[in-house]
């Protein structure tokens, strides 16, 4: 289940640099409508999907649906959902994600896909509920959820939705080039991401899908992690339990790509989050996440798509490549960061999930994957960068 909370409004006041994005959104909208029509075996004159009929409606809790949104470049949501801008009775705007079940009807096994989508929706809603109940300030949580009946030519249909706080953009819009790169912003964002993960971990939850498009930016300064649809919590089997890769494979830890499953929940789930956090450090400072960077140093024959052996056999090659990644990463950094950040990435992204985290924390019972030290590190570095002391 994807979150499109980072999508921007289609606005008449859109600025010149955003024109390309508007064009993209229009194209995207058209292609999506056409695609769903084709999938349903209809012409473009076919009735729209129910999730696209919420415009102008007033929902439970007084939420007024203002207009439909299309994804901005880089927003990863929208796979099985339609985004809207909504407003509460106090005039505060938010983002609504309406579930699009129509795609399921065109699948070879609609019943199974519908079941899977429903399970995913329920799972994400439950996780969001937990996040909200536990006041996770660095996790984008749902403000409300519910369902609404819409009239379609085929009769009334129910559309389920989730309402999120509205972000300005995702992190990729802040790391365009190395020249214009804002180190202070990156370090503060990493501090926020680490805090969000720590908030989840402290309640036995793991995010599993941290990536640039899931790091939403509010007011250009504050970051939160979004899209908890691939999360896991201890003692519960998520719907995506048996997926070869729960999150985006581009960012997934190597053991996930090689189908290696740690029996220990902490090593598997929290270790994955540690890796993803370290990977974001790499991405923010070099434009390349750790996984593709590792793969760029490995032989094609060792690529997880074709490697026929198990992870234990390939891990020496992964580690050797990882070493080279750290060397390249180090060279990309400002001299004042060359000691701390490579060490952080080395500890967080160790190819062996059992060895991730701070060595001192690994030595103590129960806090092997603690992020406290990294939160402190990012905070200190960010403060120094903000004060232009780096």
């Amino acid at each position: 289940m994807k979150n499109v909370a980072g999508e921007l409004l289609i606005s008449a006041t859109v600025q010149a640099p955003k024109r390309a994005a508007v064009l993209y959104r229009v194209q995207r909208r058209c292609s999506r409508v056409q695609e769903s029509a084709v999938n349903c075996g209809m012409t473009t004159a076919a009735p729209p999907i129910p999730a696209m009929l919420l415009g102008g409606m007033t929902l439970s809790g007084g939420w007024k649906v203002l207009r439909m949104l299309a994804p901005v470049p880089g927003s990863s949501g929208g796979n099985f959902s339609v985004g809207y801008l909504v407003e509460d009775p106090n005039g505060a705007q938010a983002f609504l994600k309406a579930l699009d079940y129509s795609r399921a009807l065109s699948s070879p096994d609609p019943a199974r896909l519908l079941q899977a989508m429903t399970e995913s929706y329920n799972f994400e809603r439950d996780v969001l509920q937990k996040c909200r109940d536990r006041r996770m300030t660095r996790v984008v949580s749902a403000i409300a959820d519910g369902s609404v009946q819409v009239a379609t030519p085929l009769g009334p249909q129910v559309v389920q939705y989730l309402i999120f706080e509205k972000a300005d953009s995702d992190s990729r819009n802040f790391i365009n080039t190395s020249k214009s790169f804002d180190v202070a912003w990156a370090l503060r964002s990493l501090h926020h991401v680490a805090t969000g993960l720590r908030q989840m971990h402290s309640h036995d939850m793991a995010h599993q899908d941290v990536k640039p498009s899931n790091i939403l930016v509010f007011n250009n300064t504050s970051s939160k992690i979004s899209d908890v649809g691939r999360a896991a919590y201890k003692g519960h089997t998520p719907p995506h339990e048996n997926f070869s890769c729960a999150g985006d494979p581009t960012y997934a830890p190597p053991e996930v790509l090689y189908d290696h499953r740690e029996p220990d929940w902490g090593a598997r789930r929290l270790g994955c989050d540690c890796y993803l956090l370290g990977s974001m450090v790499c991405f923010f400072f070099t434009g390349v996440a750790t996984t593709p960077a590792i793969l760029s140093h490995m032989l094609p024959q060792h690529h997880p798509r074709i490697w026929g052996g198990d992870y234990l056999q390939v891990i020496p090659f992964v580690r050797d490549a990882f070493d080279k990644v750290i060397t390249t990463f180090e060279r990309s950094l400002h001299p004042s960061l060359r000691v701390v950040l490579p060490t952080v990435v080395r500890q967080l992204c160790d190819p062996d999930p059992k060895l991730r985290g701070h060595p001192r924390d690994r030595a103590s019972i129960g806090s092997a994957y603690s992020l406290e030290r990294y939160i402190s590190t990012f905070n200190t570095l960010a403060a120094r960068a903000e004060a232009q002391l780096l």
Binding site: N176, K179, T250, G287, T291, L295, R305, I306, F322, R346
Partner: protein, 539 residues
Amino acid sequence: MSAALTDKERHVVPRWRDSNVAGALGELDPSAERSRVFDGTEESWREKRDAWATTRQLSFAADLLGAALTLGKFEEADEAARYVSGRKSDASPALQLVAERLLHERIGSNDPQQPKFERQSLSAAVHLTRERLRNDPRNAIAWTDLARAYASLGFGVKAERAIRLATGISRANRFVLRSAARLHLHLGDTESAHRLLRDNELVKSDPWVVAAEIVAADLDGRTSRLVRRGREFLASRNFGPFHLGELACAIGSLELKSGRIKAAKKLFQSALIKPTENSLAQIEWASQRLQDFTLFPWQFEIPFSHEARARYSFAAGDWRRAVDESIDWFADEPFASQSSTLGSYVAAEHLEDFVLSADIASQGLIASPEDPSLLNNFAFALASQGKLGEATKAINRLDLRLAALSTQICYHATVGLIAFRLGDTEKGRASYNDAISLAKGPALAKLRAHAAVNLAQEELRIDSPDARSAVVSAIEHSRLVADDDFRGVLKRLQKIVVSKIDLLGDIDRIVEDVVRLMTTDKDPLPTTQATNPDRVPLM
């Protein structure tokens, strides 16, 4: 007298290369491949692709390139890769590397470079690898590469320690395991090599490891319990021919040793479908012991097949090529002594390039400072240049207890040479005669004759009254041996006989005898041209 490469048996001992070269040669490929598809990636891929197509910003290109590399969609990210590649000032080195990899991998131009042996570069490699290991001491590949560099520099104890750490970290990796076994074999510890391989889980699934185990067991004087499994692997359709080549050669060599020629030939033929260079070298070695089994020159076009080419060229009497290939073979495996033994021997005995011979031997002595054959060849080359002090020092380092009988014979002959050159003719004669009398039986007839020829040369060189009888004796000893290799020695004798007409008097019969010896066989004189119609020179 130089010591030749006298490997009555050759084994498909695992090659041990730098991990980069081994990888480029396909030796680190998984023996079984599969196609893995990640769930639900199409939507996310399309989103990244569309976002890049619309924005044309570096960060979106980076996101797309990362996905392309992970999902294997190289061509679909071509434009973004070129965009990043063209923005060197903006894109980070890591991002440029990803872009280059995407562009480069499709072109497939990652052929390995022929390494050059330079002691300085090995020392630099040690320094750099240790630096890397300081940052991450769990890098088993780096420990393995470090062990190889140490072994090549002659630091056996350090190499052993490094490889022990590598196997301690990763026992489930073929490269680490085979490298460790190779080091143990290099250090003469066949038992450890065999035990390491035999007890490893990989013998259940990896034909490369089974091949190495069979070889190690044979070298340790044992019968491998994995031969049956190896045959099952060969019969199964689970592995590609490249992965089975060394296994087929390992079992084929056992068959050859047991006299089951037909079975051996069949296995060698199967290994030739897609051989590694190590398999090719083994088959070339075996082909010289099998009838109706000769390799064709085009079969030597496999990268890094220097040993096979050196052996082939040696057998074909293509001395210059044999030396050149030996040098490249040595650069490929600088810790192994066979290449420098062959190279120094051919350079001295056939090219009479004693400077080159001494250079090759001295390079080989870095990794194997006590190797008797190399010490002998080094001393011989030095003495032949007139560097008698250094030659004496080198020959005195040779521990006869470590030397094979053939090397002991060469040792006595070399001591004789040095004595002659120092003016101590009595000692010289005595040493040469020791060599001749030590070389008893038909198996050592060639060495006996070689020593006799060298003695005759020395007698002729000092215009000794015993020269004529020494020449006649040499000819008598030489009647039993007249292969390509030995004809080169005789050619040298012929040259010196002709130049000493005054001393020898009526030499017509002597020269005739020598010429007859050189032409009694159907093969012509050894030149750079082919002497054996089946073994035309390699291009």
